[in-house]
């Protein structure tokens, strides 16, 4: 009974944020052209491309079973390996769209710090990988 009451309270307070998050995702995925993405993170795009890829990974919420094949196809089409590493890493570690939920549980300060530290570390990981896999 206690558990049910806990559930009801938590679920009702989360529901509006969830709907807002999901609706925003619907917008982004509908209007994002994939050719543009590829141009931005190609081998000639350099560090800016890596940062853009990291930012993109931070914002979108794509399940891994879609993200890895997508990343692989970008890689085959000539994307920078650093950009792909940055994208995959921020995709799992940084969540801009789920930040409102994180704030609800852990507060604004924690959310901001965890996400920005993860973003920076994702860039570090990407650049190290770029050196090693060259």
């Amino acid at each position: 009974m206690e558990a049910l009451r806990f559930f009801r309270r938590a679920f009702l307070s989360l529901a509006p944020s969830i709907v807002a998050i999901i609706w925003t995702i619907g917008f982004i995925l509908t209007f994002l052209p994939s050719g543009l993405v590829l141009n931005t993170i190609g081998r000639n795009a350099g560090i800016i491309g890596v940062i853009i890829a990291a930012a993109f990974g931070s914002i979108v919420l794509i399940p891994a079973f879609i993200a890895f094949p997508l990343a692989a196809s970008f890689l085959r089409q000539g994307a920078d390996v650093r950009a792909i590493a940055a994208f995959v890493t921020t995709l799992v570690m940084v969540g801009v769209l789920t930040a409102p939920l994180e704030v609800k549980f852990f507060g604004r300060r924690f959310t901001l710090l965890r996400n920005s530290l993860s973003f920076v570390m994702a860039l570090v990981i990407a650049f190290v990988m770029g050196e090693v896999l060259r």
Partner: protein, 168 residues
Amino acid sequence: MKIKAVPAILAVLAAATLLVWAMRPDKAIAILFVSKDYLVEMISILPPVLILCGLFDAWVPKRTIERLMGDASGIKGTSIAFLLGTVAMGPLYAAFPIGKSLLDKGASFYNVAVFLCVWASIKIPMILFEVKFLGAEFALLRLVLTIPAILLISALLNAFRMNASRIQ
């Protein structure tokens, strides 16, 4: 996002969708369909997680978590946090309520941070998947770099938090 901001954001989204619908009805329908898919996914994941948290809250004694993952638990506590994060399935937003429950039950801040970061980034089925699509070299190198990154992020989060409580 404050709770008060959510209705405003929903109103903006509704207005924007209507605007898109007026110009490109097909795009508006696409927006709603993509949103529906994600909504179904979240709705099917969160309730079971929240119910488990409720059960955890009611049944697991605070002493147990304090002993296993508290400030004095050392490497053992961090290993438990690491393992919990690895074996659990599900997206990161499912980990927030669980991490909060652990924190409330006396797990150390550092261990909860490790738990959240590991949950987000290290999953055995996901690693296999990554190896399959992006190659073993790519996936394993990323894994090897991710582990120290997580420990560093958690240590920094812990340090910043200590600072904050000292100032206040």
